[in-house]
């Protein structure tokens, strides 16, 4: 398939080859759509719902929805922005996210997406405060699923990039979480060099490399240097909260 298609995102025309998702096409055109569960090089799964857009009155995940000729996509509208904010807030309240004491602070995508969307404060939702045991069994890697946002990036990275299947989803509903392929992490062949353990794979501070915390000072951390959404050609206002 090398036919080209044309469609619009918030009125801006996008010309792209056929067969891409809306998100891919937007990325190529330099239009940023915020996301958490999606990561370059991994199959999209459409679970976090942060990348939702509206087409024909329907809300869909742009990471899984095919771009089609003539589509009118609403991305950065007040309605969608508010949904995204609420979804991000839900994730904060589902897990334990104490940013000031978290090793991932400053390189955390949850935090960076919040800043992009203009969330700076505790919010209206109740805190669920999970207290699952931390898996510190492995020599080099620590797993704190109380910070997990169920994005499954580690699962897919381990499967497709490392060919290892170290992780998988277990449980269901609010108890759905990432499980390891053994009694604990030390019982698996997890290596600190695995793609699944790379600092960029876990968007939060759930998978932590031991002895690697707080290596960059405030001001020099990943998203201090380059906040999310700012490498796009077309800058959008994530906006502040109304």
């Amino acid at each position: 398939m090398n036919a080209t298609i044309k469609f619009r995102i918030d009125g801006t025309q996008v010309v792209t080859k056929a067969g891409l998702t809306i998100m891919k096409a937007a990325d190529n055109a330099g239009i940023y759509i915020p996301r958490l569960c999606d990561e370059k090089g991994l199959e999209p799964q459409g679970s976090c719902r942060i990348c939702i857009v509206k087409i024909g009155g329907q809300i869909v995940a742009s990471c899984t929805q095919p771009a089609e000729d003539g589509l009118e996509v609403e991305n950065d509208t007040p309605e969608i922005r508010n949904y995204r904010r609420d979804l991000v807030k839900m994730l904060y309240h589902e897990g334990n996210h104490l940013c000031p004491i978290c090793e991932a602070s400053g390189r955390c995508e949850l935090q960076a997406v919040s800043y992009y969307l203009g969330i700076f404060q505790p919010t209206k939702y109740p805190y669920l405060q999970p207290d699952r045991p931390v898996d510190a069994s492995h020599r080099d890697i620590l797993l704190n699923t109380n910070r997990c946002i169920r994005c499954g990036r580690c699962i897919r990275a381990s499967k497709t990039l490392d060919g290892k299947n170290l992780f998988g989803y277990i449980g269901r509903g609010i108890h759905k979480q990432v499980g390891v392929n053994g009694e604990n992490l030390a019982n698996t062949d997890a290596k600190v060099g695995d793609a699944a353990m790379a600092l960029e794979t876990c968007p939060v501070g759930c998978i932590i490399q031991k002895r690697q915390g707080f290596f960059a000072p405030i001001g020099k951390r990943r998203f201090d240097l380059k906040p999310l959404g700012t490498n796009s050609v077309k800058q959008q206002k994530g906006g502040s909260e109304q």
Binding site: P126, I170, G171, R172, G173, I174, G179
Partner: protein, 613 residues
Amino acid sequence: MEEKKRRLFVKQSCEKFKNSRFRLLDILWEIQNGLGGIEGPVMEQVGKLIGVSRVHVEGLVTFYAFFSDRILGKIIIRLCDDIVDQFFGLDKIIEVFSEELGIKPGQTSLDGRFSFELTPSIGMSDQAPAALINDVVFPKLTPGSVKKIIRQLKEGVPVFKVDDTCGDGNNASALIHSSVMNNIRHTGKVILSDSFLPEKGLERCLNLNPAEVIKEMKDSGLRGGGGAGFPSGLKWELARKAEAEKRHVICNADEGELGTFKDRVLLTERAPMMVEGMTIAAYAIGSSEGIIYLRAEYAYLRPWLENILEKRRDTNLLGKDILGKTGFHFDIRIQLGAGAYICGEESALICSCEGLRGEPRIRPPFPVEKGYMGQPTIVNNVETFCCAARIFEKGFDWFSNIGTDKSAGTKLLSVSGDCKKTGIYELAYGTAVADLLEMAEAHDTAIVQIGGASGEMIGRIDFNRKICFEDLATSGSVMVFNSQRNVLKIVDSFLKFFIDESCGYCTPCRVGNVFLRERIQKVMHGDANHSDLDYLRQLSNLIIKTSRCGLGNASPKPVLSSLEHFPIVYASHLHEPREGLQRQFNIQKALEESRRIAKRRSMIYDPVYYDTN
């Protein structure tokens, strides 16, 4: 079981299904039944034998409610705890079970004989309270009957012999032998009427070409009986048009919606008709393989269904060159579910048939393009297939003349709750709720929940509304509640159901429903003010709009429809705060943890000194 024997048993269980990872659900059933649970080392062994990771196996074991990662008792009691059971004395029944067994819900007795669990909807709302003991149904429990049951079980009477009464119709047959009642209260023209001539429709179809069959199906106006009401003929046409070597016909007998039990009765009384409908569908779309996805709660019907399939094979109604039609081969297997409401959703159901966690798939592609094993698949409800058989027997125009403009035919309604005649009513689409209530001898009705937890909750001024796709669409569940019942308790119980049954895949449904319930409970406790109602509406909207499947798209409906139809109930629970104060904030509760750690009282806030140590 000692390790060597256990390993052999696990190996044999996997071999029974050719070590196929696509049959993982069946393999786990073998092991669950044989060992009483599926622990870590077994997960590991199964994974090795069928070529998946241990955590993949664990993923299934922890997803399906009927599987357990710890060893359960030899006798597993699953007591249904839905709202109808709650209103009909559930608390007392739980108490008696707990007393007699010496264990609480969620526990296994020390001697390893009994496990006691609570479970949502076992499809017996017309005979509540009811429990499953292993796979035997015990309807209409009373404190007295529970004591008797447990006494017999303790004496060693086998579960299936404990209650030797039999229900009506085929429930009394040797292969079902259950005390469940059909409770058919009204037989309509299409499905429950006894004028049905078996195989006439199928014979007629085989003289038409598939395109003609699909055309008649479309012209009949039949819409799915599973709730969504998608035009069945169109679904078949889409599947037929999709390019593929193989196509599949799946019958959705997962019947998980709260308060419905009509598929249970159809499986008992109309299974041949349903299979005939599936066979017609197979001919129409060009399929050679079919699956009946049977919910685990209806496992007691499995031998009965297997026997019906076997008889049809013997008489060439299934198998090769069916009824002499050269080249038309079709056979059916039964896939037993394992306790997950979400598996009623068609793409999750397909995942489950493939031996995966029952999570809805990314769409597009839709099942009619890429379904079971990546091939075009139609999923239809039990009732839909029954209608199909009848449509070809009697003609599409006969069918389309019944019902209303946009809702052809009849609907099977499962009526439960506060009425004299709970049970099944087959009524033409377009029947008013009030007429149904009269037939069911419901008096003093204040609330009717139509379409189960994901349906609509209506009050008296809406009882003239009609049951049809133009007005009140329904999968068939009608729960009737009298004026003594508490609206908020109903809403709360539905939200609990959705929280327990959400697959957890997407953020709004996984987390949002927990937040909804928290706020409904705040209202119930009298701690909410009007701003909480805005919060409920806003959160509901978010969940409906951004969830990825029908469960999340519907889960806030109990909140929204109760807010719309019973605003006074909410208003009577609200308390506007005095300026600057938050009513739900409890200083004593907030301080408790600090007191405990500090091991001393707060000089300022403690009204009375006490040592919490």
